[in-house]
């Protein structure tokens, strides 16, 4: 029951955010919806016992690829003329409110850490081993799939060089 509820909620979120990505006229909003979509897919991976992939999804997709997209959107931003800029003071107020919320949260964390009772330090024997299948996945990647793994790293190197060459300004 709980699993079904979580699955349907995530499905609705993933599909709705995907539709938002391709329908929003503003490209920056589209990128933000894409980040949320990737995060929802990462949660789905956790449900499917693929914790390592969930971490990779957040780090590589939501952290790396989307930042790249945001950079390019900012570099080629055409859609907004200078007259359409919104009142900077209003956005400043929102930013002020958000910073205040973060400040309150940090203060709450610090206050909580001072008020709760001191728990005994965790020794190495007590610490539970890492949950999930990272060890088995790493074993597979470095034994049976070693050659594809190395090819993938060479591919990333080539892509990096290619991206630098393409984006370089010819003088």
């Amino acid at each position: 029951m709980a699993e079904a509820l979580a699955f349907y909620t995530l499905s609705v979120l993933i599909l709705g955010l995907a539709v938002a990505v391709i329908t929003t006229p503003n490209t920056v909003h589209s990128v933000v919806f894409l980040v949320l979509n990737f995060l929802c897919v990462a949660v789905l991976y956790v449900f499917l016992q693929a914790e390592f992939l969930a971490v990779i999804q957040v780090l590589v997709y939501a952290g790396g690829i989307v930042v790249l997209y945001l950079f390019v959107v900012m570099l080629v931003n055409l859609g907004r003329s200078p007259e359409e800029h919104q009142d900077p003071r209003r956005l400043g107020l929102i930013g002020l409110g958000l910073s205040g919320a973060v400040l309150l949260e940090l203060a709450g964390i610090i206050a909580y850490s001072y008020t709760r009772e001191q728990s005994p330090p965790v020794t190495a024997a007590q610490a539970s081993p890492v949950q999930g299948n990272i060890e088995e996945l790493g074993w597979l990647l470095y034994t049976d799939y070693l050659i594809p793994f190395e090819v993938a790293s060479v591919l990333l190197l080539v892509a990096m060089v290619g991206a630098i060459v393409l984006a370089r300004r010819e003088s």
């Binding site: 995907a18 391709i22 080629v76 993938a152």
Partner: protein, 102 residues
């Protein structure tokens, strides 16, 4: 209805893939098209992970790692191409990007 089977994940994956495909085919902004391609890759990954979980075999997850690596490479090169095209033609509309057409 209450039990989640791989069929549910396949339906979700197919729907997500279709949304991405619509984005690729309908939108004219090349950056949106690239994001739609990422959505389609994600749909494939969901399928692979769901069936890897069903048959309790990790090879599906290994493939997802490779798909993510290729997607990262594709994004880097593709965005470099977008930047180079934008520098030449001052547009992100793919209808105007026809320099290779004879």
């Amino acid at each position: 209805m209450m039990e989640i089977t791989p069929a549910h994940y396949t339906i979700l994956s197919a729907a997500l893939f279709s949304v991405g495909l619509i984005g690729v085919l309908v939108r004219r902004n090349i950056i949106i098209i690239f994001m739609a391609i990422e959505l389609m890759l994600n749909a494939v990954n969901i399928n692979l992970v769901a069936y890897a979980n069903e048959v309790e075999n990790l090879v599906g997850q290994v493939f997802v790692v490779f798909v993510i690596a290729v997607a990262a490479a594709e994004a880097a090169v593709g965005l470099g191409i977008i930047l180079a095209l934008f520098r030449n033609k001052e547009t992100v509309n793919i209808d105007e990007m026809n320099v290779m057409r004879s």
